[in-house]
């Protein structure tokens, strides 16, 4: 289990530098990302504010970038003892599969499979819990989104394929 984050850890500088350098990249490429050939002067144009925002990011990250390059062997990379977030990565993989599954197998089947797999993965070993809860929640999702709110969901490709 992760504890409190260490404020002295170099991980903070590393992530700040990553965001700052990414902002610098976007800043440099912004003349190609935003068309400024229109009749508007710069101060009325579409680029002034994004440049200020990106400039703020770059400037604020400069101290972290300098610290990162100067960091000696004593620099600590310890963050919070949580280690590699294996469980969140696993859950995220299941989430991506769930989203990708909606156009293939539809909301109901995709939700049921996601919930059952996630609950099992997160330690619920009783079939009553992981299958029962998944079934109950899928029914609830169907009722709320399809029945009451009448939200459009794409016709599943798999069913189209099977239906010819």
């Amino acid at each position: 289990m992760a504890g409190k984050a260490n404020p002295k850890s170099r991980v903070h500088d590393l992530f700040t530098a990553f965001l700052g350098l990414s902002a610098a990249g976007v800043l440099v490429s912004s003349p190609w990302q935003v068309d400024t050939s229109g009749p508007y002067p710069f101060y009325k144009g579409a680029l002034i504010f994004p440049l200020l925002a990106l400039g703020l990011m770059v400037l604020a990250s400069v101290p972290s970038i300098i610290r990162l390059f100067r960091s000696s062997g004593e620099a600590s990379w310890y963050l919070d003892g949580g280690g590699i977030p294996v469980k969140p990565i696993g859950v995220l993989t299941l989430v991506l599969a769930f989203l990708a599954g909606i156009p293939f197998v539809g909301l109901e089947l995709s939700s049921f499979l996601f919930l059952a797999a996630t609950l099992f993965y997160l330690g619920h070993r009783s079939a009553k819990v992981y299958l029962g809860m998944s079934l109950l929640l899928t029914a609830l999702l169907y009722l709320v989104f399809k029945y009451f709110l009448d939200v459009y969901f794409p016709t599943p490709w798999l069913f189209q394929l099977l239906g010819g």
Binding site: A2, F49, A60, G82, V91, L99, L141
Partner: protein, 499 residues
């Protein structure tokens, strides 16, 4: 005025509004009780459902979660010394010792009376102060609005100045995110990276839901947040005599409610400061200050009245200037603007019925949350036993399907996942995520006002220093940056000299 109030009362007691505020309060209490969730998660999960609702009803629903969350947070703080919301930590100073002495009912009654009184007092202050502030703000033009927005953003950044660089990076990122998509005035696509989906911009709902809903859920999936499952609750409901007993501290209640409202009014200060300041002030003026920290109902009551006054306090700058003071009111601002309602001084003139409905709904929410907790205390307290991992899976699927439902675009759900990963990283790093949300919400307003101001002055940035109100706000902004930094530097130098 009386006519508007009457119409607002009629709008407040419609079935839809009553159901929304009751449901919102219920959800708020539940997410407030559950450590690791909090009202923000409740609000963002419900956000997609508000698009189908009337603006007044949508706001009642979200305000119910906002206020209900603070009510609920005290329960695990008192029974298990695990605050449901961060500001309830102060409540546990006296609440948990009382529980250990077998007086959980006394602590819970005091906390509940405190929450209720703080909520009611702050709504009355809001009703009194909002028109005055709106009158002052009526003379604002684009430069003044820009200066006020900058002041608000700076207050938030300086509130987390121990992470100044990271706070500024996140603010910049939020401001940049707000610019993605087609620019309204020039119709030029910005930072769409050649994709059609990005042209609609990155909406507030997937961004907030990702950062808070999915980010927090990933933390829940990984950590066991609750420290204990034991609870010492002897009755199903609250003891009425204990509730009446708490009322003898009425002076502390009023004092804490007023302090909480004014702390809530300042952007970036947050409910923890409101709770702490109320607790400390009441402790100093109490007849029995030694009892604080050892288990006195006055301590529970002061801290809860302080933090429960924050939502109405935060509504004052939001309604009159359109500047949210924290992430929760930033989401409310998003709901306003999505419905085509733009908070500012004219809102009180243009939408008097909506504003009065909002005030009355907040009063009703406080009554509803108080009654719900007083009657169903034990069932609510049992909520803490719901498995974290089960909650994580439910919130995840509800959030993603909810986001898809807003625009029926899987792209939005993808944005939420990316933001969820970012939110998870920021939560692990303990960076101020609120800065990012403030940037996303205020970006559009700041950009619009900046460009309008520069258009008036034909590109001369000195316009901000040539108008008295704008100049005062810029000076105030400079002072809130410089003074704390000087104080920090002096403290650092003194501690170095002593060490």
């Amino acid at each position: 005025m009386a006519e508007h109030l009457y119409q607002a009362l009629l709008a407040t007691i419609t079935y839809a509004n009553i159901i929304a505020l009751l449901f919102g309060s219920l959800v708020g209490i539940v997410v407030g009780i559950l450590p690791g969730l909090g009202p923000m998660v409740g609000m963002v999960v419900l956000l997609p459902f508000t698009f189908a609702l009337d603006p007044g009803v949508a706001l009642s629903l979200l305000l119910g979660v906002f206020c209900g969350g603070y009510f609920g947070g005290a329960i695990p703080a008192i029974l298990m010394r695990t605050p449901g919301v961060p500001s309830s930590l102060i409540t546990s100073f006296d609440g948990f010792p009382l529980t250990q002495k077998g007086e959980a009912q006394t602590a819970l009654s005091a906390a509940l009376v405190g929450s209720f009184s703080g909520g009611i007092i702050s709504v009355f202050i809001l009703m009194f102060l909002a028109p005055i502030l709106a009158h002052v703000a009526a003379s604002f033009g684009p430069p003044e609005y820009f200066a006020a927005g900058l002041f608000g953003v700076t207050l938030v950044v300086m509130a987390y100045r121990d992470r100044l660089a990271q706070g500024l990076v996140l603010l910049g990122l939020g401001l940049w995110i707000s610019t993605v998509g087609i620019d309204g005035p020039t119709l030029v696509p910005r930072f769409c990276f050649g994709t059609l989906a990005m042209q609609n911009g990155l909406h507030l709902v997937p961004v907030c839901l990702g950062l808070f809903g999915i980010g927090q859920t990933l933390i829940l999936a990984e950590r066991r947040i609750l420290q204990t499952e034991s609870m010492s609750l002897t009755r199903k409901t609250l003891d009425f005599s204990k509730i009446m007993g708490a009322l003898r501290y009425w002076k502390s209640l009023v004092m804490s409610g007023v302090i909480g409202t004014f702390v809530g009014l300042l952007p970036g200060t947050g409910s923890i400061l409101a709770s702490f300041l109320s607790y400390e002030t009441v402790k100093r003026t109490s007849k029995d200050p030694e009892a604080f920290g050892k288990g006195t109902p006055e301590g529970c009551l002061a801290s809860e009245a302080g933090n429960n006054a924050v939502p109405a306090g935060a509504m004052i700058p939001l309604l009159t200037l359109g500047i949210p003071g924290d992430a929760l009111s930033a989401v409310l601002l998003g709901v306003f603007t999505i419905n085509g309602i733009y908070p500012g001084p004219l809102l009180l003139v243009k939408e008097p019925v909506l504003i009065n409905t909002l005030y009355l709904s907040m009063l009703f929410i406080n009554v509803a949350a108080f009654l719900m907790l007083a009657i169903w205390l034990r069932p609510f307290a049992m909520v803490v036993r719901v498995s974290n991992t089960l909650l994580a899976a439910v919130i995840m699927v509800l959030s993603l399907v909810g986001i898809y439902a807003v625009n029926t675009r899987l792209f939005d759900a993808g944005v939420a996942i990316v933001m969820g990963v970012l939110g998870y990283i920021l939560l692990r790093l303990e960076w101020p995520v609120v800065n990012l949300v403030m940037g996303v919400v205020l970006g559009e307003i700041l950009e619009e006002r900046l460009r309008e101001s520069l258009s008036i002055s034909e590109g001369n940035p000195l316009i901000f220093l040539q108008r008295p109100i704008s100049l005062c706000l810029f000076i105030a902004t400079a002072l809130i940056v410089v003074i704390p930094l000087i104080l920090d530097w002096r403290r650092h130098r003194r501690s170095n000299a002593a060490g």
